[in-house]
Amino acid sequence: MKTVLGIGGTDDSIRALEHTLDRVAETGDELTVAVIENPDSTPAGDEVEDRVEGIIEEYGVDADVVRLSGDPGSALVEFAESNGYDEIVLGGGETSAMGKIQVGRVAEFVLLNSHTSVKLVR
């Protein structure tokens, strides 16, 4: 399986990365981590990329890291479709103080527009 994980730096996207690295360690799937410009995330691109590289190293698995510019949702969908990925993985949303799950804007766009299967990590 060829997987691309979109990550903008929000807590849920970091959790999704850790979850996916665990999976990759078991399955040997091919993983690309795409750092996207998430408007809902405070950390900026370089900071996110550094953090991602660090976490991947910690897990000791093989994964490529790429930077996607422009609108994060459409950049991710286009990247996945034009490079033959089987699955897009994203963080499954933030949880409010009340406990309500709120799906992020990038995930919404990808769910509605992607022809590639989408996995939201909870």
């Binding site: 409010s96 103080a97 009340m98 406990g99 309500k100 709120q102 799906v103 919404e108």
Partner: protein
Amino acid sequence: MNGEGITDVSGFPETPFEFDDGEGRAIEVREYDGEREALLSMYEEFDPGDRAQGIPPVRGDALERWLEGILEGVNTVAWDGNDAVGHATLVGDEGMDAHELAIFVAQSHQHAGVGSRLIRGVLSLAYDRGVRDVWLSVERWNRAAVRLYNGVGFEKTRREGFEIEMGTRLTV
């Protein structure tokens, strides 16, 4: 992006109060006062189809933990005799002045005016406790809930997605 609405709570009933619901049942709305078991029973029977964005949690331990957290906020409960049939809650966000609102009505007591009384009661109580800014999120397709929130002054505050964010400022 739109601004939050304004809710004048001075016309809202002050807890505790009683009313006859649309089915002629006598319902009392009171501030939560430790009736944890009755609320747990209500949530254990809650129709999974009426869950909103993952709450109430279905599993027992997750449900208890969730309830424990929200019961620290401002809470009102609707009672039909000894049965809790509705619950409105306001939870403060860490580092934010705004409180998040949620409201649940047992399936047996929906479409009977319980929710609209319950929400007015909790907003009035919250105002007395010093709460001013209230926000909530609601699934876009839950039109009945959006109407209810609009009816007490909430306005959309965020671009519409799967869920709508709404907010209001309480005043008298």
